[in-house]
Every structure is written in C-alpha cells, then in structure tokens.
Assembly symmetry: C2
Homo-oligomer: 315 residues x 2
C-alpha cells in the first residue's frame, strides 16, 4: 500500500531489536522517506528496510535537527533519549520516544492510540510510547473500566528475552535447556523492580486513574518474543465473564483466543486475550502480545498515523 | 547416613521422572531395602539407585501385596493409582500416593509434613501427597495464616516441563529457541484448568480452610526443573512485610532468597521465598521450589519418615 502522505521519518536506534522492527513495519506499510540512525559505532552499517536497505547515519542532535524530518521514532536507552529528543523536538520534528525518559513527564502525552488517542493531539513535539506491558494491560483495562469501573488490578507478567534487547536474545539462544531459568533482571530499589513501578505508573497515566491500585510482579521467562500477563481485575460494579468477553471482543486491537500464548501472538498486531473468567469476586484474564510490535514499534507507528490523520503535526 | 530402622519400600513408577528422583533421594538418605516397580513394558529395566542399581519389577496388585513391604511410594498416573493402591493398602502396606486419585477423598490425609504432619498419623493405609504447586503454596500460607489470618489468595504459576514428565522434558530439550512458548496444557473444563482446581481445593484441604478464596492461573514455562509462583495474600489482620519475612524465615522448609528462581531452587530441598512486600493492602511474594523434590519425591519420603518417627505404621 502507498501512504496518501509520505512523511519523512527517522528511525533512531535502527540497529536495535525494536529499531529493526520499526523499519520492517514502516516498509511493510508503504513508507518510503525513511532514514536509519544509530550511535557512532554503527555508522555505515547496512540495515534491512523491507526488500530494500538503508545505510545507518550518525544520530546526533545536529544531524537529526538538520535532517528535514517530520517524525523521529526513538528506540534507544532513556539516557540517549534525554540527550537527543529535546534538541530534535526544538528543530520542529515530532518525536515519538519509546524509552522511559519522558513517559511520566507531566504535559507529555503517553499514548496507546486505541486507549487515549485524543491525548496525542495535545503533544508539544514529544509523544511517549508506553512500556511493553503497559500497552496491552491498559488496552484491556480501558473498556472494562468503561463497562464496570476499575477498583484494583493485580498482574503477574511473563516477559520475553527480546524485551531486554538483542544481546539478551543471543544469550538465550545459546543457553542449554538445563540453563533456562526465570529472571527478575530489572533495576531493584529494594522493594519493587523498576519494571513494576513503570507498569503501575504508566497504566495509571494512560487510563487517567491516578489512584488506581495496581500491583505487579514482573518476571522474565525463557521465551524469545512475546510478553504475557495473568491479570486479576476488581470492578466497582458486577460484570459477568460473558459480558466482559463481549466488551473485549468489540474493542479494536484486541483478539479473543482460548489460550493466548507469546508464540501465537508473535508476528501479529493484535493483543490476544483469553481465559476470561470470574473467581472470588474478581475478573481474571490472560493476555499475550508481540512486545516488539504492539508493545513497541507498531504502537509508535500508530501514533504517527493518528497524528497524520488528525493533522496534528507542524505544517 | 544409615537409618535406625530400614523399612522395606517399593517405589512404584520407578522409570518416571519422579520415580527416579524418589530412588535417588532414598539412596542418598541411606535406605537400602528399596525395590523398583513399574508397568509391564519396563520389567527388567535397570534403574539407578544411588551408586547402585535396581531391576524393575512388574507393578501389579498381587506382586506389591505379596512383596513383604512396609511402604509403597506411588508416582504413577491417577488411573493406575486407583487400580493399585487400594489392593496394596489392603495387604497392610502403607501407601504414599503422589497422584491426584485420593487427594480430595474425605478421610484420606493430604500431607505436607511441615504444615499438617499430625494429619498423617490418622491414615488408614493411604496418605496422599499434594500437587507440586500446592505443597510450596500451603507451606508459605500456613505460618502467615497463624500470624494474621488468611482472607484470600491469588496465585499465578510458572511451572516447568518436568511437571509433565520425561517425554515433555525431552520435547523441550529438542525445541529450537524460537519455538519456546508458554502453555496451559492441563485438562480444561471450559472455565478453569484442572491444575487450577487442584491448587485451590488441595490448598484448602491442607490448611483446613475450606472456604478460603484461592484464585489461580496456571502456566507452563520453558524451564526444565523448578516451579515458581507469584502470590498475592489478603490477611485479616495487618502484617508488615518485615514481620512476614521473619515469620517465613522461622518456618522449617523455607529459605529466604532475594530473587527466587527455579534454577536456584533446583537440586535443593527448601522452598525459596522472596520478593516479600506490601502493596495495595496485600502481601506479595514470589516462591520457587524443585517440583521433583519438595514438590513430589522429597515430600513423600518426609511423610514416610514422619510416620516412622511417630510409629504410625502397622507393627
């Protein structure tokens, strides 16, 4: 397909696992004015762009600001985002940042298009892309909140190696089966993992429910691609599993599946949701989602497309 | 070590993954009067027994009843247990059954020695060994119940391939990393997995809290040995994470660990518990346990040792 408008897009962090997926999805969606940027050590590297390729350019505030761009999609660490994004934004480029650098910054929209797309239009040059687990979680919680009012959420995650980048994927590929283990390999403040704090705070911001009790245990599992979550949902008003199932079936971006798993979700755009049932006064469900697609690259591209459709970009 | 009394023990299902572990642990604990039994197709097979070996004998009601035994430890499917156990019990052999055949039968004790060892003495020839996830869960819940009263439990499991037997382990060993996936591979009644029902009902029976709300989501992860559980606990009275940590540290069979994982727990007798914290009015923790040891073979041997220590066996 060819886009009616073909914006000029920079993919920053093009040699990473999310950057590579961003390039692949942009190519598949018909974008052509796409350039690849990365750090100094990747300059000149050739990366795939659909059937085509791109030569990696050096990502600096100056090169990006001078790049005559409409959008820059960042999938770099949050420290690098903090260095690059404000300068690029100041040059008039709309920045979609996938790091955690700006997600909780007041005034910066944190957007899942199906959940709070309207917020994206209020951007002042930066839109933050949420954490890979917060995207599917808020997608599932939003319609249930509208149907019956959220009172509390417990979530246990099953997160894949690709969430930790290419090196972790390679490491996992080389493990002997006896070495497979779970991990809780995020920064730890002595009580909670940073990933658990992100999941709570970002989900609250996306849903605009700043006091919602959300309690998370985040776990890395020896799966390459695809995150899953076991979720318990307390609601203010009664909602049967049957009605919840219908509500979710009618929600854009959600696909019902009896037993969602990372491998079934992997390679798909949808958030797979199943095991919807009531138990002890709560609604339970299990979800799986391709963390590189809807959990990262796809969501960022959908933000670009939403801004273009609503003409919420600088002229 | 040499046992003061050396009971005559049959290991039934000796060629399975739990049977092999039972033989290994019995040998390591100094038992010598141990025989190996299995189905017709394994007759004559040589199995390890510590540095020694055993020749597999045919497990039938007749061979076991005529075997001049004190104990028979069954790790066979529940249908085979139903065929063999009552006849062997009628011959005066105390049967420790690791299948689900008798676990919820009224009058048959379902025992975790550290949790409800007293119940074992009330046996009438059969003691049931609980499900591999119910053993560590009830071990953790019991002291917390005594400290502050349980009001409700939510648990998400991370269960290893060895829980599904040797063939599943072999299958997992041969998977390419790209094929690794989560699974929910238990019998399904349309609402709940059989494993989830077992976990609820068995934990209630062990704790003698027959109305306790327990809500479980059971998931198989691509790990070979070791089950883990993310647990949310609602208590009737306030209990800080610090006090909970001290209570658990003082509980026999439990070992505190900052980040328990299956691989750390694998090869160990203890139940590893960590991530103990409070959130949104609940206590959270994460546990890992060797499902072949404390989750199965070790617990069954501990039942034998408890009955011997209390002379609760036929003279």
């Amino acid at each position: 397909m060819t886009r009616p408008v073909d914006p000029r897009i920079a993919v920053v962090g093009a040699t990473g696992v999310v950057g590579a997926m961003t390039l692949a999805l942009l190519a598949a969606r018909g974008y052509r004015n796409v350039r690849a940027f990365a750090s100094y050590r990747s300059i000149g590297q050739i990366v795939s762009f659909g059937g085509d390729t791109r030569v990696v350019e050096h990502a600096t505030p100056e090169t990006l600001a001078a790049g005559d761009l409409d959008f820059a999609l960042f999938s770099v660490g949050s420290r690098v985002s903090q260095e690059l994004v404000p300068a690029v934004r100041d040059a008039g480029v709309v920045c979609i940042d996938k790091s955690s650098a700006f997600r909780l910054e007041p005034g910066i929209p944190l957007v899942v298009p199906e959940v709070n797309g309207d917020r994206a239009e209020q951007h002042e040059g930066i839109v933050a892309n949420p954490n890979c687990c917060a995207i599917p979680l808020s997608s599932v919680l939003k319609p249930l909140h509208e149907a019956a009012g959220l009172a509390g959420v417990q979530v246990a995650t099953y997160q894949s190696a690709s969430g930790a980048g290419m090196r972790r994927m390679e490491w996992m590929r080389n493990l002997r089966p006896e070495e497979h283990d779970l991990a809780m390999d995020w920064t730890f403040d002595g009580v909670e993992l940073e990933e658990e704090t992100k999941l709570r705070e970002e989900t609250r911001k996306i849903l605009e429910l700043h006091e919602l009790p959300i309690s998370a245990t985040c776990v890395r599992v020896p799966v390459l691609i695809g995150h899953a979550e076991a979720v318990w949902i307390e609601l203010e008003r009664p909602l049967s599993a049957d009605v919840a199932r219908r509500v979710l079936a009618d929600t854009p971006g959600i696909q019902l599946e009896e037993f969602p798993t990372p491998r079934k979700a992997s390679g798909n755009d949808g958030i797979f949701v199943g095991r919807i049932r009531e138990d002890a006064g709560r609604l339970l469900l299990f979800l799986a989602c391709d963390n590189l697609r809807k959990g990262a690259a796809l969501n960022a591209i959908q933000i670009v497309e939403l801004l273009m459709a609503r003409r919420a970009i600088p002229a």
